[in-house]
């Protein structure tokens, strides 16, 4: 017999494929947070004094701050004293010097996730930095990149090998006290990735970081800093997964991008943290601050994100367009299913003359999920001739989910042009029936309709990741109709 409307809602029952736990010995700090913990992290990482001072300053500032409540998300208060702020796989030496020294169990974990660090990276020509809990375990292709003059390493390595660059750029885009979660990250961040592409260099391959939370009751606080010098170009991708656990885990990352004159940074994210089960138990709280600064003339920063995971997503990759003629872009697909809550969007701050920004946001809600787009376009008085185009589309699957759009616009220059388009559609019963009537199964039909909806964003992703994103989307919405 014909399927019932309620089946449409049932079409969203998903199994999380990355929910396994790796049994590996780890070196963790006990839960709790005070200045001694901050100092201990810094000591474990053998950091220079300036960084310890920076962390402590951030920590003291954090203590004066309150968790933000303006986002359209609901969760029980987080006990920051119940989280372990450092967990590292115990290695025979301090840090693996090459892949051969990496614990085979770790390598197996990444293979299971579809990232064999050896072969796949070589085949795909993608340089991968893998961060397991708090530390970076391996960076592939270091040599080839070094030849091009590109620095791509874990944040810790950068602190030791390129301290001047860290001191010059760290916190210049996202200041230590920027917001509650950024301040927390600044105090306790443990590792992350660092990229420096020198003047005139086009990075010869895609750079990629894979983040994995393994240990229970740990937070992951990574810090990414990418600098593209004059005329440099780099494309960077991050992917994320975590085991299935009943308690919520905190992920509070900070990403800073700096693009100098004529530089281009393309930053793509495929975020698949554990979203919690279909009843809303467990899952990652993803409270992330991502910001890029087009510091030079004609610089360009482009964010592309596919967000399918996390119990709660709180994330607004932003661009500060300072350089004259600089360009900011934000392309986003955010999927929220079951009891997931996503409050995501972007900020485009136009400072320089003739700066241009484009925002394309596609939100998909299913089950009981809440999906919010929150965007801000700010045109400062100095931004003569600034232009923005914003398009926000929401797709609802079933009758118990919700989509919200909060576009904020602040235009202080009369020569600016700001355009906003928004639409909300239910996944067409008509579209679905049309496909069924052509003999296509409900599941395939939903996948087809949803990928059609997301197409403009997917085509911004590097090709190999576009395929991954498409597959991820199918899994996320598996069983949501039929």
């Amino acid at each position: 017999m014909a399927s019932k409307p309620s089946d449409v809602e049932a079409l969203i029952g998903q199994k999380y494929r990355h929910g396994f736990v790796t049994d590996i010995e780890s070196d963790s700090l006990p839960p709790g947070l005070d200045e001694t913990v901050v100092a201990a992290i810094s000591r474990k990482k053998n950091e220079p004094q300036f960084l310890l001072d920076w962390r402590l300053k951030a920590f003291r500032h954090w203590q004066t701050m309150h968790e933000p409540t303006w986002a359209h998300v609901h969760y029980k208060p987080i006990d920051y004293q119940d989280i372990s702020y450092y967990s590292a796989p115990r290695a025979p030496v301090d840090a693996p010097k090459s892949l051969d020294e990496v614990d085979p169990k770790l390598l197996a974990t990444y293979a299971k996730l579809g990232i064999p660090l050896h072969e796949r990276a070589r085949l795909a020509g993608v340089a991968v930095d893998a961060v397991f809990d708090s530390v970076s375990v391996a960076t592939t292709f270091k040599d080839k990149l070094a030849k091009a003059g590109v620095i791509f390493c874990s944040f810790s390595d950068a602190v030791h090998n390129h301290p001047a660059l860290i001191e010059q750029y760290l916190g210049t885009v996202v200041p230590a006290g920027d917001n509650f979660f950024a301040a927390l990250n600044s105090a306790v961040f443990s590792d992350g990735s660092f990229v420096y592409v020198p003047r005139g260099v086009r990075c010869p391959m895609e750079l990629s970081t894979y983040f994995r939370i393994n240990a229970a009751k740990t937070g992951q606080f990574e810090r990414t800093l990418i600098i593209a010098a004059e005329g440099a170009t780099v494309s960077y991708l991050e992917g994320c997964t975590a085991p299935m656990r009943d308690e919520n885990q905190l992920h509070a990352a900070v990403v800073e991008l700096v693009a100098l004159d004529d530089a281009t940074i393309k930053y793509s994210t495929v975020q698949n943290w554990y979203p919690g089960d279909e009843n809303g138990i467990g899952g990652i709280y993803n409270f992330v601050t991502k910001r890029g600064e087009c510091r030079g003339r004609n610089a360009k920063i482009s964010w592309t994100q596919v967000e399918t995971g996390s119990a709660i997503t709180w994330k607004y990759p932003s661009c500060v367009l300072k350089g004259e003629g600089s360009v900011g872009e934000f392309y986003s697909v955010a999927v929220a299913n079951h009891h997931q809550q996503a409050d995501t969007g972007t900020k485009m701050i136009h400072v320089g003359r003739n700066t241009k920004s484009t925002i394309v946001s596609k939100g998909i809600s299913a089950g009981h999920a809440e999906n919010t787009y929150r965007g801000q376009v700010k045109i400062l008085p100095s931004a003569d001739g600034a232009r923005n185009f914003t398009q926000c589309d929401s797709l609802l699957m079933g009758g118990r989910c919700a989509a919200h759009t909060f576009p904020y616009m602040e235009v202080k220059n009369a020569t600016a042009t700001v355009e906003h388009e928004a639409s909300t559609s239910k996944i067409g019963e008509d579209q679905l029936f049309y496909c069924l009537q052509r003999g296509i199964s409900a599941e395939d039909a939903v996948n087809m309709i949803v990928s059609g909806f997301c197409k403009v964003v997917f085509k911004e992703l590097p090709m190999e990741f576009a395929v991954e994103a498409q597959n991820l989307l199918s899994v996320s919405l598996e069983g949501s109709v039929g």
Partner: protein, 257 residues
């Protein structure tokens, strides 16, 4: 009246409601392989409802009767299974599916049908050759290959696209719901050419239409007049001509008389 083929579709005392309102009130209809039937009737008589019920639209509640399609209990089948078994509905208002390639959808549809029949998936090159040939026949530009499903199509292009899909899927029974509405005379001829090319001893076509004009190009074996959810009168092609002259009230009146 031409008949003699095996029974393809048999509707017995079918009644159905939409949103709590009874629309079909006891339809009996038999369609044999090889035949073309036209279903005519005033607005709100239940023509489109009948088409949707046959295709298995979920908002249409069948409250009584039976439908047998190619020997199987049609009402027990899911919409996609009906399609795979060879039932095709040409939509009155084909829906747009933005971002989904027109050809991609059609290929998925053909493969779903082939899979259900235990056949291998169609080879990509063969498929492209097939669709190009059919598009040429339907006088469609190759630009259709790269466009989204009905995305930005004119009304006439959408209808032509429906017939293209029908020609590729080669259904046993094609139900064409007001495929002629909104077509200019040239497009009407092309659509009719497409439908006629599918006519053979093993298939049947049901034309749901308001206008006798279509039947000049696709000549039906039987014409039925639907009103108030019942078939009031059946006849051959001359019934359509008479309706055109005398209007639906004549049928209603003659029924009462």
């Amino acid at each position: 009246m031409a008949s003699g083929g095996s029974i393809l579709l048999k509707i017995e005392n079918l009644s159905a409601r939409v949103a709590g309102k009874d629309i079909l009130n006891g339809i009996d209809l038999q369609i044999n392989a090889g035949e073309v039937h036209a279903i005519m009737g005033p607005n709100g008589s239940g023509k489109s409802t009948l088409a949707q019920v046959l295709a298995g639209r979920e908002d249409y509640e069948v409250t009584g009767g039976r439908i047998t399609f190619a020997g199987a209990d049609l009402l027990a089948m899911k919409p996609e299974d009906r399609a795979r078994a060879g039932l095709f509905l040409g939509f009155q208002y084909p829906v747009e599916i933005p971002g989904v390639n027109n050809v991609y959808l059609l290929k998925a549809a053909l493969n779903a049908k082939r899979k259900a029949a235990g056949q291998p998936e169609v080879d990509a090159y063969e498929f492209l050759a097939l669709i190009k040939q059919k598009m040429k026949f339907m006088e469609m530009s190759e630009a259709f290959l790269t466009r989204g499903v009905n995305e930005g199509f004119s009304g006439g292009e959408k209808k032509r696209n429906e017939i293209l899909q029908m020609l590729v899927l080669e259904p046993k029974l094609a139900i064409l719901d007001e495929t002629d509405s909104g077509l200019d005379i040239d497009a009407l001829k092309i659509v009719s050419k497409g439908v006629n090319s599918l006519r053979d001893a093993n298939r049947a076509v049901v034309l749901v239409t308001h206008y006798q004009r279509l039947l000049d190009y696709i000549v039906p074996d039987q014409v039925h007049v639907l009103s108030g959810g019942r078939i009031l009168k059946s006849g051959d092609k001359s019934l359509a001509l008479e309706l055109e002259k005398r209007g639906y009230d004549w049928v209603k009146a003659s029924r009462v008389a």
